[in-house]
Structure formats: C-alpha cells, structure tokens
Symmetry: none
Subunit: 225 residues, 2 copies
C-alpha cells in the first residue's frame, strides 16, 4: 500500500513520512509539484497527500493536471488555514478530502484510511478462520480462548494469510507484501517463518491451518484447518 506525499516543508514531509511508514505504508515523497506529478503518473498509489503551497507548480495545478490525465487516485489536500485558497475550490478540482494545517497526525491517518475504505470493501475488525482469530487493531491473535504470542513478522505473515483465506499465495507475493517489495535476501525466509507460525498456531492444537501447495505457495484454510 503506497502513499505519495507532495510537500515542500522538509520537517512536515519527514514527520508524515515517518508516521505513515510506522503504520505500514510505503511512502514516496516529492518536494515540489513537478516531481509529484512525475511520480504520480509513473506509479500506482493508494492515496496522494498533496500540499497546496508548493514551489513552482502548486497543488491546485497538480491536482487538476492529474485528473485531466485520468489519474483517479484519491487526493487529500493539505493547506495552511489562512491560505489564499478556498477549500471549496480544492474539492471542485477533484480532490477527495481536505485538511488544514496544523492538523493532528491521527486525524490525517483516519482520513487516509477513510479514503482507502471508500474504494475498498469494508473489512471486518477481526479476521478469523475457524477458531483462529486475529485483531489488527489490538495487535492480538489466538486460537479459540488461547492467546498466541507472535513476533511482529509472524503476526504480519498470519495477517496477510488471513486476508486471503482459501487462496494460494505465492512465496514471491509473501516476500513482496509481508517483507519488502524489493526484498533481495534468501526466499527461504518464507518457509522458515511459515514453520515458526505452524509451530505456534497449528502444532499445539493438532490442526493444520496453513497448507503447503508444492511448487506454488501456501494456502490458509478458511475453516482453520
């Protein structure tokens, strides 16, 4: 899930970037409108966070140009409260939401999530497969009554599998989504972590939620094994 941040004030850009990364987003930044446009056209972003006051090509211009070239990525506009621009204009130009500085980071996150939700179907708060459950918000998971202690990596892996139940996910896909899009290490790492997971969520319960599909990948049984 990648986000593009177009913002010329370095400390704001850095704070937003750091925060979004901590929330699991991939982040690209651009310090002016020109670069923002380039990146927005070249890549597929889930959301674009766009400052209005930019050197050179301003946010209005960027937003209009994007829409004109059929880039329909949701755009969230940032601007100073006392700016010369009006929020109504921004929304007319095809922006999807609007936030005035200074704003709380949590609000920014909530807005971004809301934008993402609009496009995607609503996801339930807790993911389950049979008696196996995982709560992304509380960062907890378990099998029936038992709470399971997972490391961050194990948790991320299980979460991904639970989001794609009864579907074979390839090792490459897991590497890209759970690890890093540009992961270059030993792909064996996936097998290792699937092993760790099985020892925690399957073996103690005599179940087998994660099935190996030889030569293809892994499949999580929607009924928990």
């Amino acid at each position: 899930m990648r986000v593009l941040v177009v913002e010329d004030e370095p400390h704001i850009a850095a704070a937003v970037e750091r925060g979004l990364r901590a929330e699991g987003f991939g982040v690209d930044t651009a310090e002016d409108g020109e670069k923002g446009l380039l990146l927005a056209r070249r890549n597929e972003y889930a959301v674009i966070v766009l400052d209005l006051m930019l050197p050179g090509r301003n946010g209005y211009d960027v937003c209009r140009t994007l829409r004109a070239s059929d880039v329909m990525t949701p755009v969230l506009i940032l601007t100073a409260k006392d700016g010369e621009y009006d929020e109504a204009d921004a929304l007319d130009l095809g922006a999807d939401d609007y936030l005035t500085k200074p704003f709380s980071f949590v609000v920014l996150l909530a807005r971004i999530r809301a934008l993402l939700r609009r496009g995607a179907p609503q996801r339930p708060a807790v993911l389950t497969a049979g008696d196996l459950w995982l709560d992304p918000g509380a960062h907890r998971c378990g099998r029936g009554e038992s709470l399971l202690e997972l490391t961050p990596r194990e948790f991320a892996l299980l979460e991904y599998l639970l989001r794609h139940p009864d579907t074979v996910v390839s090792k490459t896909e897991l590497l890209a989504e759970v690890w890093d899009a540009w992961f270059e290490g030993d792909p064996n790492i996936v097998e290792v972590y699937v092993g760790y997971l099985r020892r925690k969520i399957d073996t103690p319960f005599g179940r087998a939620a994660i099935e190996t599909v030889r030569g293809v990948g892994y499949r999580l049984d929607g009924k928990g094994g």
Copy 2:
C-alpha cells in the same frame, strides 16, 4: 450553532431547514450521502440530521464512515416508519437518536436540543481501566484508593493511552498526539516516558497495564494489567 441536514426529498429538507433557521440555527444541507460526508468532515457541526434512505451512499454508510474517521458529532437519524432498517441498527452504528417519518417538527427540535444538551463529544468524566482511573477534568489519577502524582507529560501520555484501551498505539502516534504533531526530537522520548509511567502506575502495584508490542507500539490493557 450549525446543523447539517442530509436529506434527499427536497420538500422535507426545505421544511427542516426553514424551521431550524427560524430557531436560530445555521443550516447546511446535502442531498446525498457523499456530499453529506464531505460537509461533515469539512466543518464542525453541532448536530447532523441524517436521512437513512439516500441515493448512492445511504445513511448507515455515512454514519459508520463518520464514526470511523473520528467525527463524533451527534447524529440524529430520520427514516420512514416502514423502512427496511431497524432502529437498533442505527444506534449500533453510532447514531445518537432516531426519529421515524412522519414526525412533528416540534419533536425534531426537542430531540436536537436534547442532543445538544448532552454535549458533543460524549466523553465519560473519568477514564478507567480496571482499578486504574484518570479524571481529565480534575486532572487527577490513581490506582484504586491510591492517588498518583504524575507530571503533566506523564498525565497526558496516560490519558491518551486510556482513551485507546486494548489498542496498539504506535510511538509515532504518541509523538504526534502527546508531544507535537511535527515533533522532531528523539523518538526515544516515548520509551523514556513509558518507563516513568510504569514506575508509577505498574511497579508499585505489581501490575502491568502498559504492554510493549515490539516493533509496533504500546497497548494499555483495558482491565488495568
């Protein structure tokens, strides 16, 4: 005192708007859910009057989305008596009151006044987690009978955690919310203050209300540890 009316039937919208204006309210109207959402997010309303049967995005959806993006403005739901929706559902979604059409304007006004009296952000006077309690108004907190002496920063941190019990809050989020939205210092400060807090609220009582979720953040146990 502004009110947002989201209603697609023009004559009802007009009647409600006229009536509310006569009572001294500022009124914005939206004829569908999408516009309603935009306005609700953009502006601060005292109350939102929301019809359930709307073209496109219906009232349920609007209400749920608003709550999900942390807009806590009181919502009063309007709906036809024989509609397919149930009152209980509406309240579950985070609506605050409920009125079936046809309704008398006087009743609508009374309900709106009641909602305003309740106060917009319906916050409990005292936040608790098990025997741990914090009174934001009195600026006091304690564990059971014992009063705890916290510095302002410690207090703010605990308050934030208590407002998000059983949820993992990231260090970034804490930096942004308890410190400053654009905090640039050493993020280690969060660990330091969590340490201070634990020494005051956990160690002396042999409890562990604040749990560390490695690589993600901290979680306050809703039962106080």
